[in-house]
Symmetry: C2
C-alpha cells in the first residue's frame, strides 16, 4: 500500500518527529519542522525503522484505553454498518461480530468471510455465530459492553434492532450481568478525529469537486436548466471514479430562489442571472461539500456583489477564530455577527458541520445555541476535525459560500476559497 501524505508531522504520523524519511523531495526546515512526501513503508534515515501510518483500528484501541472502555461489540450481517466501514472498509456476507477491547481486535465471521479480515484475530464459525460469540464474550468477561446505538446521532446509530434482540439472547445465555451502553462516548471521537489517510481522501474529493466546478463554462449556456447542469456534474463525478457525496446536490438559478436542501428544477437560465451550486463528491468513501457562486453575464448587480463580499468576510473572520478547544457556537457567532452587522438577517442554519464518510458527520457542529444544535454546538473543536464553513444570506437575496477545512493548530483550508464571483 502506497500512501502519499504531505506535511507529515502536521498530520500526526505514528513516528517520532525526529525521524527523517528515506524519500526524495523533502525540505528540512529544522529538527522538528519539515515538509516531506512520505510513502508507507519508507525507512527512516536515522533509525532505519519503517514508517507505518496509524490505522482507524489502532486509533480505536488508543481511544478505548484513554476512556477506559472494556469492550465494544459491533454486529453486522449482509449489508452496511457505519463503524465496520470506518474500521475495516468492507462489507461482510455472514453475520459477524467485531470486538474491540483495550488491547485486542477480534473478528468473529463466517468461514467464507475469513479472507476479508486483515490485522485482527479471526475466529470463524460454520453454521451460526452462536458457535463462537458466547465463548469469546465469556473469555473477555467485560463489565460493560458498548454498542452502536443512539437516539439522536445517526452516525453512531447503526446497530439494527433485530440484531440487538438476538444479541440480548446471547447475553442471557452467558448470564451477562453488566450494562449495555451506547458507544457514543468514544465513537464520536473516533469518527471525527481524522487520521492522515482520511484527510488525504477528503482532500482528493475536494480536488475532484473543484475540477468539476472548473468545467462549468463548457456546459453553461442560455436556456440550460438547473437539472441539466446537475446531470452534467454527476456525469463528471462518475467519470472521475467518484460518487455523489449526497443525493440531490443543488443547482439554483437567480438570487431570489431559496437555497437549502433543494431539488434542482427545469428552470431555464437567462442572461444576467446568478447561479448558486451546492455540490460534493465521495472519493474512496470520503466526502467533499462545497458551494460556489457564478454569474451568467458581465458585471453582477450591486446587491449580489455586496452579499458575496459580506459572506466572504464572514467566512474569513470565522477562519481566524478556529482552533482546537474553541466551542462550535463561538465560531458560528463570529460569522453570524458579520452577516447581521451588515444588515442581513441571520442565516437559518449552522455555520458548518463535520464531513467524513458522511457528508453530515456527527459530533461538534459550528452552530448557534439553538435547540436543534445546542448539544453539539457546545462541544469543542478538536485537532483532526474536518468541517465545512458555509455562511450564507437568506431573504430578498439568497447566496452562500462553502469551503472545507481541517483543524490543526488552527483552521486550514482543504479547498481554495472563492474570492470573486465567477463570470461565465
Amino acid at each position: 500500500m502506497k500512501i502519499q501524505v504531505r506535511a507529515a508531522i502536521q498530520e500526526k504520523l505514528t513516528v517520532r518527529d525526529c525521524h527523517i524519511f528515506g524519500v526524495e523531495n523533502f525540505t528540512l526546515l529544522g529538527y522538528h519542522l519539515f515538509t516531506v512526501d512520505v510513502v508507507e513503508g519508507t525507512r527512516c534515515y536515522t533509525c532505519n525503522k519503517r514508517i507505518t501510518m496509524k490505522s482507524k483500528g489502532e486509533q480505536a484501541l488508543e481511544i478505548l484505553r484513554e476512556k477506559s472502555i472494556d469492550c465494544w461489540v459491533i454486529l453486522i450481517r449482509e449489508g452496511k454498518e457505519k463503524a465496520v466501514e470506518l474500521l475495516l472498509e468492507k462489507g461482510f456476507v455472514g453475520e459477524s461480530a467485531f470486538i474491540f477491547t483495550r488491547d485486542r481486535k477480534i473478528a468473529v465471521v463466517a468461514s467464507y468471510d475469513k479472507e476479508r479480515v486483515e490485522d485482527m484475530e479471526v475466529l470463524t464459525y460454520t453454521k451460526g455465530i452462536r458457535e463462537v460469540l458466547p465463548s469469546v464474550l465469556k473469555e473477555i468477561s467485560p463489565r460493560k459492553i458498548y454498542m452502536n446505538f443512539s437516539e439522536h446521532d445517526h452516525t453512531i446509530d447503526s446497530l439494527t434492532h433485530g440484531l440487538f434482540i438476538k444479541f440480548q439472547t446471547i447475553l442471557e445465555e452467558i448470564a451477562f450481568a453488566g450494562e449495555v451502553l451506547s458507544s457514543e462516548v468514544f465513537l464520536e471521537e473516533l469518527r471525527s478525529v481524522k487520521i492522515p489517510e482520511e484527510i488525504r481522501r477528503i482532500r482528493e474529493a475536494v480536488r475532484v469537486t473543484e475540477e468539476i466546478f472548473e468545467e462549468l463554462p463548457n456546459f453553461v449556456h442560455e436556456g440550460v436548466t438547473e437539472i441539466e447542469i446537475l446531470e452534467k456534474m454527476t456525469d463528471l463525478t462518475y467519470k472521475s471514479g467518484c460518487e455523489l457525496a449526497w443525493e440531490d446536490p443543488a443547482v439554483t438559478f437567480g438570487l431570489q430562489t431559496e437555497l437549502g436542501h433543494r431539488i434542482s428544477s427545469k428552470r431555464k437560465l437567462k442572461k444576467n442571472e446568478s447561479i448558486h451550486i451546492d455540490f460534493g463528491v465521495k472519493y474512496e468513501g470520503y466526502c467533499s461539500d462545497l458551494q460556489r457562486v457564478f454569474y451568467y453575464g458581465k458585471n453582477p448587480p450591486q446587491e449580489m456583489v455586496r452579499a458575496f463580499e459580506t459572506i466572504k468576510k464572514a467566512q474569513e473572520a470565522s477562519m481566524q477564530v478556529i482552533e482546537p478547544g474553541k466551542k462550535g457556537y463561538e465560531i458560528d457567532g463570529t460569522a453570524r455577527k458579520i452577516i447581521t452587522e451588515n444588515g442581513y438577517p441571520e442565516y437559518n442554519h449552522g455555520l458548518g458541520h463535520q464531513i467524513g464518510r458522511e457528508v453530515h458527520d456527527g459530533g461538534c457542529i459550528l452552530g448557534p445555541l439553538w435547540e436543534r444544535y445546542e448539544k453539539n454546538s457546545r462541544k469543542p473543536v478538536k485537532e483532526g476535525n474536518v468541517f465545512t464553513v458555509e455562511p450564507s444570506i437568506h431573504g430578498k437575496v439568497n447566496l452562500g459560500l462553502e469551503d472545507d477545512i481541517v483543524v490543526k493548530k488552527r483552521g486550514e483550508y482543504l479547498s481554495h476559497p472563492q474570492r470573486e464571483i465567477i463570470e461565465i
Copy 2:
C-alpha cells in the same frame, strides 16, 4: 415516465386482461393471451382507459389489506433504510416516519424534505418529529404496529436500535397499549414478489452483465491476473452507468481453485487454463448475479467438459420443476440429485437465492433442508419471484453456472443460459 414492459399480461399489470393497448408492435394471439410493448399512460383501444403500472406503494396497500395489517411504521433518518428505498427510492435528511395503513400512505418529514415525497399524504415538522408523529399515531389508533426488525432476515431488519428506543418513548407518550411486531409477515412478500418495473430493471442489469462477459476476449491474455480481469469488468460496469451488485465479485483461474465468496488473486493466467467468473451489476437499484465458464485455449480437458455438462443438466432439470407453489427444497433436490448421480459430491450451498434490491434477497430460497436454510427452503415459490439458479461442483474440480430467472406460470430465464464452454 415512459416504461417499456414486454409480455405485459404475464407480468401482471393492473389492467384487465381484456384491454388492448393503443401501441404499435403488438401481436394479438387471443383474447387473454398476447404479447405487447406497453408504455405507461397509453390508452386502451377498447375502453379508452389509460394504463398505469402498479407501484410498490400500491402493492404494499394491497398486501396490508390482504393480511389485515393495521399500521406499518418505517422510521429513517439521514442514510438508508431498505423499505424506504423499496417504496420511495429516495433518502431523507431529517428524521422521517412513513406510515402505511390499509388505505393511507402518510409521510411525516422535516419541512426541507417535503419535496422528496410523491404520491403520499405529507405532514411536515420544523423542530422535531415529536411535533407531528404522536398525534398522527393517535388519530390512526392502531391495535398493532408493525416495524422493520428481524432476528434472522437482513432484508427486513433495517430499523436501527436508537430509533426504536426513541419510538418507544413516543408510544409511551400516547399511552399506546398494543403490540409492536415485526413486519416480516408482509414485507418479505412485498420485497420478493416483483412488479413489472422491478423485473424490467433486473432484466437490464442482466443485459449489461452479459454484455460485459462478451467483452472478455478483449482483455483476457496470457499473464493477466484475476484482479486485472475484475478491475476491467468493474470499469465496464461503471461505464454502463451501473454499480457492482456486490463487493468483490470473483474471477477464479484453474479447476482446482475453490469458488465461493472468494477474493480474486494476483495469480497469472496460463495457457490451457479455465476461468470461472461470478459477477453481477446493479441497474437503477436492482441486481443481476451470473456465473460463466471460460477456457483459455482450445479443446477444454475431458474433466472440465464432463463437469460443465453435468451442471448444465442439473440447471435444466431444476428449471423443469420450477412453478408457483413448489417448495424451495424440492427444486433444489432435483438439481442436487443430478450432481450426485453423476458421481460428484453435493454442492455445499443452496441451488438459488432471490435477487432484487439486494443480491441475496430474503424469503423463499431454493435450498436443501439444512439448518441454515430450513425455514426459507420450506417456503413456496411465488409468481413474481426472481431467483438465481446456480448448481455447482466442488472438490477435485470446481465449476458452477448461474442464471437469473423469473417465476411466472413456470420459470423463465432472464439471462441467456450458457450452453457451451466459451473458448478464448
